[in-house]
Amino acid sequence: MTAAILLVLLLQFLAADVTPAAAQLLSPGQLAQPHVDVEGMSNCTKCHVLGSQVQPERCLACHETLAARVASGQGYHKDKTTGCVTCHTDHLGRDYQMVRWDRDTFDHAEAGYRLEGKHAEARCDQCHKTASYIGLPTDCASCHLDEHRGQLGPTCADCHTPAAWKPVTFEHSRARFALVGKHTRVECAGCHVTETAMAVMDSSRGAADSSFVRYRDIPFAACTDCHQDIHRGQFSGPPETRNQTQNRNAAPVTDCTTCHVETGWKPAAGFDHTRARFQLTGGHTRVLCDACHRRDDASVDTTTINTTSGGAGMQRFRPLAFGRCTDCHADSHRGQFPGRDCTDCHTDAAWKPARLDHDTSRFTLQGRHEPVPCDKCHHQEELGAGVVGARFRPVPFAACADCHADVHAGQFGVQDCGACHTVAGWKAAADFDHERSRFPLRGRHVQTACDKCHAGVAEGTPTRFRPLPHERCDDCHADSHDAQFVVQGRATDCAVCHQDSDWKPASAFDHDRASYHLEGAHTAVACAGCHPAYTTPAGEQRRRYRPLSTDCAACHR
C-alpha cells in the first residue's frame, strides 16, 4: 500500500511541468553554463538519443561552426572519433569547464596550426579572444596589426618568421634596389624612414599606432633620392635630365656615380681628373684634393648629409678658377716679378728647384757662385704685409761686398776683391802676385805657406796682410840661437850666415870671420865637435856658438 502511494506520487511529480530545478531530480547533475539553455527535462533528447546515449550528431546540430569544420576536415576535431562526451562531459555542475586541456602539453599542430617561435610563447587568449577556440584564420593579419600598412602584401612569412619579428629573412637582392658596398652596412632606417599615417587600432595591443616604416614607393633612381647633394648643385646636369619627382632633398644633379662608387664616398674612385679641364700633372698629382677644392663656408649643415665627407662647409669643385697659378697659389714672391708667369721659373713638377736661368738675370752666376744656394744671396726677409720670403728684386750685386763680408777687415780698403780673387774660388787668389808686394818672395819663402807669415794677430781676427813688418828676418822668424848673436841689444842680421835658399847649411857663414880660425885638422872636425848642444832654461835644445872658450882643453880633454 505504501509502495503504491509513493509510486503514484512519483509519477504525478514526473508528469508535471517541472521547473529546471525540479528537473535536476532526474538529471545526474547540473549542465555546464554553456548548456544552461537546454537545462530541463523536456530538453534531454536535444543531446541524448533514446537508447543510444549522446551522439555527436546531436552535439553538432547545435555547434554548427564546429560541424562545418569537421565536415571540411579542418581543425582539432577533424579526425576525432571517440564521441564528443569523451572529452566534453557534462552534468558536472554549472561551473564545470567542458572545454579543458592541458595548455602546457596541448599540441596545437593537431588544431591544424603548428605554434612555433613566439607563437609558442603566447598565451591562448592573445589569439583566441572569445571563449570559443574554434576556427581562427591562420593569416597573420587576423591577429597581428599590419605594421607595413599594406605595403608588402599579406604574406608576412616572406620576410618574417614566427621566431621573432626581427631580424627579418628578407633578401634585399630581391628588391629592385640591390644593396652594394656601403649600402649593405647602412641601417635599414637610414633609407626606410618611419612615417605617420592614419591611426590604426591594434586589436592585439589595444592601442592606436599611427607610425609605420616606409618600404615601398621609395624613389631610388637618383642618389639624391636618399642622399643630400653635398656639392650643392655644382655638378647639376642639364635641366632636361632632371626628374623632379625623384628628387626629394636637393636639386637634380649629375649622377653621383660619375665620380663616386658605392664602396665608399671617399675616395671618389670613379672620378678621373683627366676628364676635368685642369689636368693634374707633376706635383699637382700629389696634392690633396682639399688643397684646391676648399670648403667655402660652414653654412651647410653636414649633420643632415648622409655621407662621410666630414668637416664643415661645402667643398668647391665648380666653378674653380685655374687659369693662373695664383688662382690657387699665393704669390710667394709678393709681386717681385710683376708681369711674369710662375711657369717662367717654376714647373708643376715641384716648386723647387725653380728652372730659372740665372744668366738671363743681370748677375751671371760663374765659378763658385754657381753652387751657392740661392738663399745665400736671396735672403729671407719680410716682403710686405708681414710675409717673409726670398728677396729676388732688387738685390744689389755691383760690388762683392754687396753680398760678401770683407774678410780682410778693411786691410785693402775699398779695393775690388777681383784684384786678388776670382769667382773660381776665394782661396788661391789666382790674380795675386806677391812680386807686386813690397816683399817679393825668394828662396824658401816661395814655398812657405801664406799663413806662416799672414796669420791672425789673435785667434778669430782677420788674417793680417797689411801692415806687415818685413824689414828684418826676426819680423817673422824666431831667434834659433838663444840670443847668442845679439850684440849690444841688436840681433845680428841672419843673412850674415844664412841665405833665402835655405836655413841649413848656413852657406853665407865664413869661420874665418869668427874669432877662431879653423886650421889643420880643425877644418875636418864636424861643427858639433866644438859647438856642443845645451838646453836653455826654457827646455829648448840649442847649440853653443858664443861665448866659446878657445882653450885647447876646452875642447880636448
Partner: protein, 294 residues
C-alpha cells in the same frame, strides 16, 4: 541435561552465529577494501578532476566497472527481497531455514549498498540521491533491527526458547552458582528486574547494559579471584552469571523490545519502497537513454 551442558550447547549455536556474522562483515569489508584500494585514487578526486583521470573510463557510474557495480548492487538488493517473500509464501518455507535466509538477507543488505556506493563513485545528486540515502537508512536500520531482533526470545535469531524455558534455565544457573560459588554468593547474586518499561526506555537499557557488560564481567572475575576462587572456577562462574543475566534481561525486556521491533519494521519497509521506487526510475532513465550495456 545439566545446566553446563545446556550452556555448552548454547555456546555452539552462538559460535555459529558469530562465524556467520564475522564472515558477513569480512566479506563486506574485503569487497569494500578491494574496491577502495583499486579506485581510491579516482574516488578522492573532485568531479572536475575525475573526468581527466585514467580510471574515469572504468569507474565512472556510466562506464563499465561502475556500471557493473550498479547492476550487481541492484541485483543483490533485489535478491535480498526474497527473504521477505520466503517469510510470507508458504511453499517457500521448505527452502532452507529462515535463519539462513536472514543471514543471506543481511549479507546482501550490506554488500548491495556497498556496491551501489562504489557505483555512485561517492557522488549522488538529484532524485537518485533520495534512493541512495534511503538505501543507506535501510541498511543501517537493518543492522539496528538485527541488534534488537536477537534480544527477543523465540525470534529467528534469538535463543529459540520461550520465556518460560529461559526462566527455567536461569533458575538452573542460580542453583549451579549456589553450589559452586557458595563462599561468594553475594557477588553472583541475580539483579532484580526493574519491572515494566516503555519501548524506547527498554532500548536505552539494552544499549547501556551492552556497553557496561564487558566491564561488569571483568569486575566480577576480579572479585571472585579476590574471594579465593580458583581461576577455572571463577571463569566458569562468570560465564554462568553472564548467561543468567542475559536471560533475565531478555525476559525482562522481551515485551518492550518486541514492541520496538514492530515499530522498526514499520520504519524499515517504507525506505525500502522509496529506494526501489526511485532506483527503478533511475534505471529506467538510464535504460531509456541507452546506458544499459557495460
Amino acid at each position: 541435561m545439566g545446566i553446563l551442558q545446556n550452556i555448552s550447547m548454547r555456546k555452539g549455536a552462538a559460535l555459529k552465529d558469530r562465524i556467520i556474522t564475522t564472515l558477513t562483515i569480512a566479506v563486506t569489508v574485503t569487497v569494500g577494501a578491494a574496491l577502495w584500494y583499486r579506485g581510491s585514487g579516482y574516488y578522492l578526486l573532485s568531479v572536475e578532476q575525475r573526468v581527466d583521470a585514467p580510471l574515469h573510463a572504468l569507474l565512472a557510474p556510466a562506464h563499465p566497472v561502475g556500471h557493473l557495480l550498479g547492476w550487481l548492487g541492484l541485483g543483490l538488493m533485489t535478491v535480498m527481497l526474497l527473504y521477505s517473500v520466503r517469510k510470507r509464501v508458504r511453499w517457500m518455507r521448505r527452502l532452507g531455514s529462515l535463519r539462513h535466509w536472514l543471514s543471506s538477507h543481511i549479507l546482501m543488505g550490506l554488500l548491495g549498498p556497498l556496491l551501489i556506493t562504489f557505483h555512485s563513485a561517492f557522488k549522488v545528486s538529484g532524485l537518485v540521491s533520495i534512493a541512495y540515502w534511503s538505501m543507506i537508512v535501510t541498511m543501517v536500520s537493518g543492522i539496528f533491527g538485527r541488534y534488537i531482533y536477537v534480544q527477543i526470545p523465540n525470534s529467528v535469531l534469538g535463543d529459540g526458547q520461550s520465556p518460560a524455558a529461559l526462566a527455567e534455565e536461569a533458575r538452573s544457573i542460580e542453583v549451579e552458582l549456589e553450589r559452586s560459588v557458595s563462599s561468594a554468593s553475594d557477588l553472583v547474586a541475580a539483579p532484580r528486574p526493574d519491572g515494566a518499561r516503555g519501548g524506547w526506555q527498554a532500548l536505552l537499557v539494552l544499549l547501556a547494559d551492552d556497553l557496561k557488560r564487558p566491564w561488569r564481567r571483568l569486575r566480577l572475575a576480579l572479585a571472585l579471584r579476590r574471594a579465593g576462587l580458583p581461576r577455572g572456577e571463577a571463569r566458569a562462574a562468570v560465564r554462568l552469571v553472564q548467561r543468567r543475566d542475559l536471560i533475565l534481561r531478555r525476559i525482562d525486556l522481551s515485551a518492550s523490545l518486541s514492541e520496538v521491533f514492530r515499530y522498526w519494521h514499520a520504519l524499515h519497509k517504507p525506505f525500502v519502497y522509496i529506494m526501489f521506487l526511485i532506483a527503478a526510475v533511475h534505471v529506467g532513465v538510464a535504460l531509456l537513454f541507452g546506458y544499459a550495456g557495460l
